[in-house]
Amino acid sequence: MTAEPAPRPPQPDAGPAPVAESDVVPIVELRHITREFGTEPRVRALRDVDLTLDHGSSLAIVGVSGSGKSTLLNVLGCLDRPTSGTYLLDGIDVSRLDERLRAVLRAEVIGFVFQTFNLLAHRSVLDNVMLAEVYRGGSREGREGRADRALTALERVGMQDRARFLPTRLSGGEQQRVAIARALMADHSLLLCDEPTGNLDSANTDSVLGLFDELSAGGLTLVIVTHEEQVAAHAERRVRMVDGVLTEEP
């Protein structure tokens, strides 16, 4: 667990604030987060977790299966609600938001990369990448430039020549690159990766990790859940989950 600065009260709906040093906030602040499942017996997947992430940092969460890594990632991604505690995402108290606004945060702030890629098999690579912007609305002009932005994102991961392919024609590494391009497409602040190399061979793993290095160097905040030491070593900071308890590792 990390030492936390003095807690500040969340002000999610306050009016415009003047620019000041005190207004610069971490992108992620977890305070005393717990997550319990079931009733009898109750399973405590997260126990009093505190975590702070600055913008542009990279974090690896390691631990054995069932230790609570994915639960923590789901809480960070606003896919799940903690049982207790406070989660400030870019200064917004997420626990106060209803489901509708949490969905907006997912569209605007958080990108996901999954172990199983989660690409739509019947849609082209380009369509899959463009899907990242579908739930962000935007102007007509913005929609018209969507394909160009998707191609740019594919270019960043070296997949622009596969834009018209169906995902089923791609290798695992290529599919994961497309999934990363989808996450990059929406220009999110926070990229959450759940075992991103879990289904890849060593060559593709190296390729994807190299890509993560580039993204991190570009200022994107990365959180990678993994049980592979090789992957965790690429993050500048590493924490370990053991039975729902988060501990900082040197």
């Binding site: 906030v25 997912r106 739509l120 739930y135 609305g137 200022g219």
Partner: protein, 418 residues
């Protein structure tokens, strides 16, 4: 992951913007979802096509057929009256209709033709044709014997294959002439009259002067030997006509039905009963209502089956696409977006089924009408409203699956994978 550029420092977010997804994107995602499984969509739409098509076809055919039925009814049945002694007339039955009934009826304004008919009791006499010594002939036979007034032939729309009808002169003189119904003529082996064939009724000889080919009323005449009333009175002691057949002008049937008993039996009209057709307008309504009720029921059942098909396929689609739903939720889709997409998909399937079904149903109406030389009749709102009905069915069928899709928690849905 280094080296890296300095982390950007950001201001606190002050508020979360409202959720947004353009209608165009929603439509695009819905249609992409449909096009991803074209074979299944086609099979699903087929259910609605059959339902809507059956509904349109049955509505159109019921209207076309009822118009056709009523048209036939108007042309013949609506002008048909039969007057006969009522049962309540008791023993006087045989003598209620006067011998001059035909003349009395023809004097009524609205009567086109009239005549009287009676069964003749020939006391078991057999009928045989001449010559009688043909060993191959069937020999003597028993045939129904009818006595009619000359006006009957016009009143029943009788046609001739050969010869002529007898007239009032034959009746007044009691001439021994007969007209044979086509079936009776076949029984006695007579097919032409130019050689003046004759038949024996018992031991009395009658000249056959004509052979009926068809009648549109009183079909029993086709199997009978028909003689003039005057002849039957003289030869067989016929007491009175048994019934009067009347043809009226269209629209006059009610009037004549009231006047005929008075004209024929002024002292006690109740001794006569009148068989007249129901009001054609009422019959038209009854026919249409009966057909519409039947066909609407069939169409409704077909539509219900189509709706269940859409609901079933949409529900299966939701269950199969749980992972996709999870992905969309992770990418920022709200519950309303997920519900909207599945509702649009089911509505589009219903609409497509409605359009194709309405077209197919209309084609069926035209084809059936052409095959029967009917005039196709279809209310304009049926083909126009059928696609909307299909869309409504799709919308209603998709509601439950869409709500189930929207209720899925993102974490649970993602766990299912794509």
């Amino acid at each position: 992951m280094s080296p890296r550029s300095p982390a950007p420092r950001r201001r606190r977010r002050t508020a979360v913007p409202g959720p947004s997804m353009s209608a165009r994107d929603l439509l695009g995602e819905a249609f992409a979802g449909l096009l991803a499984r074209p074979a299944r969509v086609l099979l699903t739409v087929l259910g609605t096509v059959i339902g809507v098509g059956a509904l349109v076809a049955t509505l159109g055919l019921s209207k076309t057929a009822s118009n056709q039925i009523v048209g036939h009814f108007d042309a013949l049945e609506a002008t048909d009256i039969v007057v006969s002694p009522s049962v309540r007339g008791g023993g006087a039955r045989g003598a209620v209709l006067p011998w001059d009934a035909e003349a009395r009826l023809r004097r009524l304004n609205g009567v086109v033709a009239a005549g009287t008919i009676a069964d003749v009791d020939v006391r078991g006499a057999l009928v045989r044709s001449v010559p009688i010594n043909d060993p191959l002939a069937a020999g003597a036979t028993q045939l129904p014997m009818k006595a009619v007034s000359p006006g009957v032939f016009q009143a029943v729309h009788a046609g001739l294959t050969a010869g002529r009808f007898f007239d009032a002169g034959h009746s007044q003189r009691g001439d021994r002439v007969v007209v044979l119904g086509v079936n009776a003529a076949r029984r006695v082996g007579i097919s032409r009259v130019d050689q003046q064939p004759a038949i024996f009724i018992g031991d009395r000889l009658y000249v056959v002067i004509g052979i009926l080919s068809a009648v549109r009323r009183q079909p029993t005449l086709l199997g009978a030997v028909i003689m003039p009333e005057g002849t039957a009175r003289r030869e067989f002691g016929l007491a009175a006509p048994a019934l009067a057949q009347v043809e009226t002008r269209i629209g006059a049937v009610d009037l004549i039905a009231r006047q005929a008993p008075v004209a024929l039996s002024p002292s006690d009209p109740k001794l006569l009963k009148v068989a007249a057709p129901p009001d054609p307008r009422e019959l038209r309504g009854e026919v249409k209502n009966d057909l519409n009720a039947l066909f609407l029921l069939l169409g409704g059942v077909s539509l219900l089956v189509g709706a269940i098909g859409i609901a079933n396929v949409t529900l299966v689609s939701v269950l199969e696409r749980v992972g996709e739903i999870g992905l969309r939720r992770a990418l920022g889709a709200g519950r309303q977006h997920i519900a909207g997409q599945f509702l649009l998909e089911s509505t589009a399937m219903g609409l497509a089924g409605g359009v194709i079904g309405a077209s197919a149903g209309t084609l069926v109406i035209v084809a059936v009408s052409a095959a029967n030389t009917w005039t196709p009749v279809l209310d304009p709102w049926v083909p126009l409203g059928a696609p909307l009905l299909g869309a409504l069915i799709g919308l209603l069928s998709g509601t439950y699956p869409a709500l189930r899709a929207a209720a899925l928690e993102p974490v649970e849905a993602l766990r299912a994978g794509t």
